[in-house]
C-alpha cells in the first residue's frame, strides 16, 4: 500500500522517493515525468497525492537558530512539533500555528496555513522571512516577500517546486501556558456577537454544534485566550493515545455525534468561564489522539472548509448550517473562526470573514450534499480550502479564487504545470 492522505480517501497506488539531498533531488526531477511533494500526510484530501510522491519528511535538519532574535532556519521536512520541542523552553513560539503541530514546515508554507490568531496575525507566510526552493528546471532559488515566486508558493499547494529550507521569525513568550476564557452561546447571533466582543484577544476559535435545530442553530463554545506571563516555560509533549484500527463505520452515526457534541457543550459552564491550559491542550487538542482519523471508519472522511465574506457570513452560515442539520449527516467537529484581511498570495484561503470547517465520513449522498453547500458558498462570494478538499469542481474553485489565472500563467511560464501535479491540481486544472 502506498501513501495516503489524512482523510484516507482516495486510496491510490503510488511510488515514493524520500528526499535526502539536493543532488539526488535534481536527478529525480529530471528523470520523473510528474510528481508532488508530500510532507507528513496531514492534508485531508488529494492535494498531496499522485502516482509519484516525493516524501519530504526525511529532509529535516535544523540549520540555524538566532536565540536572541527568534529567527530559525530549518530544512522543510522538519515538523512543527520538532520546532516547538526546541524553541518553547527558550522562550519562543510559532507566530502562526494551525490546529495540528504534526505538519512539516514545507507543508505549512505550501498550504499557507493559519491558526486561531488569523484575525490578529494573518497566515503562516507572515512569519516566513525567506525560503529556498528547487524549481521544475532543477534550479534552486531563494525568495522573500514581494517576489512573485514567494506569493505563488505560499499557498501554492506544492505546485511551484520543492521547498528546501525556510527561515522563519518566532514570537516571544514568557510562559508555556494559556489563560483561556470559554464563552457559551445559545445561537448564531450570540456567537457572532461574542466573536466581535473578543476580537482584540490574540487567539480565538469556536466549536459549533452542527446538529442543533431551529432557533438553536449556531450555538457554540467560543474559546479565546493568550499566553500567560508567569515565566514557566516547561513544556513536555503529551504522550499520545492511539486508535489502533479503523472503527466500524456505524460507530459514528448521528446519534453518537449528537452525544459527543452534547457532552462537550454540556461540560462547559453557562456564560463565561476561565481556565489555565497548556499549549498542547489549547492549540493541538486532537494531536493527543494519534490516528484520530480512524474513527470515521475504513472508507475515510473529508473535511469541508469554506469561508464567506464578513457581510454575508451570517446569512450564509445560517443557510448552510440549516442544510447540514436537515441532512442529518453530522460532523464530529465543526469549527468556526473569524478571519482578517486576505494577503497577496495567489491561492491562500483566508479572506476577511467567517470560516466553518466540518468533518464528514465518506458515504453515499455526501458529495451531493457538499455540491449543494458549494452553491451557497459561491452565491455568497466564498471559497473552499484546498488543503482540506477532495472533491470540489473546477468551476466552484475558480469562482472563489480570482487570482487563479495569474497562478496558472506563472506555472506554465516556468514549466511547473508539466512537472508538479497532484490529483487535485489535475481535477481543478491548476
Amino acid at each position: 500500500m502506498g501513501l495516503i492522505s489524512w482523510g484516507m480517501y482516495p486510496i491510490i497506488k503510488n511510488k515514493k522517493i524520500s528526499l535526502r539531498d539536493t543532488k539526488t533531488l535534481h536527478t529525480y526531477i529530471n528523470s520523473t515525468d510528474e510528481f508532488i511533494p508530500y510532507g507528513n500526510g496531514r492534508s485531508y484530501g488529494d492535494s498531496a497525492l499522485n502516482e509519484n510522491i516525493l516524501y519530504c519528511k526525511t529532509y529535516n535538519n535544523f540549520l540555524d537558530f538566532d536565540v536572541q532574535n527568534g529567527i530559525l532556519t530549518c530544512q522543510a521536512g522538519v515538523l512543527l512539533s520538532e520546532i516547538l520541542d526546541s524553541v518553547i523552553k527558550r522562550g519562543w513560539f510559532l507566530k502562526v500555528t494551525p490546529g495540528t503541530k504534526l505538519i512539516t514546515l514545507g507543508g505549512a508554507i505550501a498550504s499557507d496555513v493559519h491558526g486561531k490568531n488569523h484575525h490578529t496575525q494573518g497566515c503562516f507566510s507572515e512569519c516566513v522571512e525567506e525560503f529556498t526552493i528547487m524549481l521544475a528546471s532543477g534550479e534552486i532559488k531563494s525568495c522573500k516577500k514581494g517576489d512573485e515566486l514567494f506569493h505563488a508558493t505560499c499557498g501554492g499547494m506544492g505546485l511551484t517546486g520543492v521547498i528546501l529550507t525556510a527561515k522563519i521569525s518566532l514570537k516571544k513568550i514568557n510562559s508555556a501556558f494559556i489563560n483561556q476564557t470559554t464563552i457559551k452561546t445559545k445561537n448564531l447571533a450570540e456567537t457572532f456577537e461574542a466573536f466581535e466582543n473578543y476580537k482584540d484577544i490574540q487567539y480565538s476559535v469556536a466549536w459549533i454544534d452542527c446538529l442543533a435545530k431551529n432557533e438553536e442553530i449556531g450555538k457554540c463554545l467560543l474559546m479565546v485566550g493568550d499566553f500567560a506571563d508567569d515565566g514557566n516555560l516547561e513544556y513536555k509533549s503529551k504522550k499520545r493515545l492511539s486508535i489502533p484500527f479503523n472503527f466500524p463505520s456505524f460507530a459514528l452515526n448521528s446519534l453518537s455525534v449528537k452525544a459527543f457534541n452534547w457532552l462537550y457543550y454540556a461540560k462547559a459552564k453557562d456564560g463565561v468561564s476561565k481556565q489555565r491550559v497548556s499549549i498542547d491542550t489549547f492549540f493541538y487538542p486532537l494531536d493527543a489522539i494519534e490516528n484520530w482519523n480512524r474513527i470515521y471508519g475504513k472508507n475515510g472522511f473529508t473535511q469541508y472548509q469554506f469561508i464567506l465574506p464578513k457581510e454575508q457570513s451570517f446569512e450564509g452560515l445560517k443557510e448552510i448550517l440549516t442544510k447540514i442539520s436537515d441532512s442529518g449527516k453530522g460532523s464530529f467537529l465543526a469549527v468556526l473562526k473569524l478571519y482578517s484581511k486576505e494577503n497577496e498570495n495567489y491561492l491562500s484561503f483566508p479572506l476577511e470573514g467567517y470560516s466553518l470547517a466540518l468533518d464528514f465520513k465518506i458515504e453515499v449522498g455526501l458529495f451531493e450534499l457538499l455540491n449543494a453547500l458549494d452553491e451557497v458558498v459561491v452565491k455568497y462570494g466564498g471559497r473552499i480550502y484546498l488543503t482540506k478538499d477532495v472533491r470540489v469542481s473546477k468551476e466552484t474553485f475558480e469562482k472563489g479564487y480570482p487570482k487563479i489565472e495569474q497562478f496558472r500563467d506563472f506555472r506554465s511560464k516556468n514549466y511547473m504545470d508539466k512537472k508538479l501535479n497532484s490529483l487535485q491540481s489535475k481535477r481543478v486544472k491548476i
Binding site: R20, F62, L63, E82, S86
Partner: protein, 243 residues
Amino acid sequence: MSYILIIGAKSDIAKEVARVYAKNGYNLYLAARDSLSLEDLKHDIEIRSGVNVELKEFDITSYDTHEEFYRSLKKRPIGVIVISGYMVEQKTAQKEWIETLNTVNVNYTGALSILNIVANDFEKEQRGFIVGVSSVAGDRGRKANYIYGSAKAGFSAYLSGLRNRLYESGVTVLTVKPGFVETKMTENLDLPQKLTAQPQEVAEDIFNAQQKGRNVLYTKPIWMIIMLIIKHIPEFMFKKMSI
C-alpha cells in the same frame, strides 16, 4: 550534563536516537566511520537542543583500536548505545564469503569487542547503561535472512548474558529488537504499513525503555507477538515454510 556514546551513528535509527537523547538534555559522542559526514547532524542537534555533540572516528571492525578509542573519551559516557548494523541480501551473503564475514564482524564480533571494554568499565564504576540494537531476525533463523539473523542471534545472547552479569553492579542492559523500520535500508521494499515503525518511533521507544530500566524491547510492540508465534512453530513444519 552527562555524555551518551552512540556507536554506529550514521544509520537513520541512530540519528533519531541521538536527537531524542539530546532533547532530553544529554550530551553526545557520535561514533562512526567517516564521522565527518555527520557534521550536518551534529549541527542540527546542537541547534535543536543546545547540547554538546562530539564526532568520533570509529571503525567497529578495527578491534584493536577500541580500547584506545574508549580511553580517549574526555568524559566517560554514562550510557553506551550500539546501533551498528550491516545487512546485505541473503543470496549475496551466501555466495560471497567476504559478505558473510562482514555481516558477522559488524553485527556481532565488533559489537562484543567494544562492549567488553565498556562493560568492564561500567562494572567497576557500578553505574551506567548499555543498549544494544539487535533484531527480530535473531529470534529464529529463516532461509530469507539467516546469516544476518544468526549474527544478531549471537548478539542477543551476548546482551542477555551481559545483563545477567552486570545486574549485581546496577548496570542495566537493554536488548532492542526492531521489526520493520522505514529507513534508507528499506526504502525500496514494500513493507506492510501497520508493522513498520518510523525511526522516530523506534528512538522514542528505546529512550523510554532504557529510562525505565527494561530488559528487552520489541518495536513496534506487535513484533513480540509475531516472534512468539514464529518461535513456537515446530521445526518439522518450520523447515518447509517460506516466511
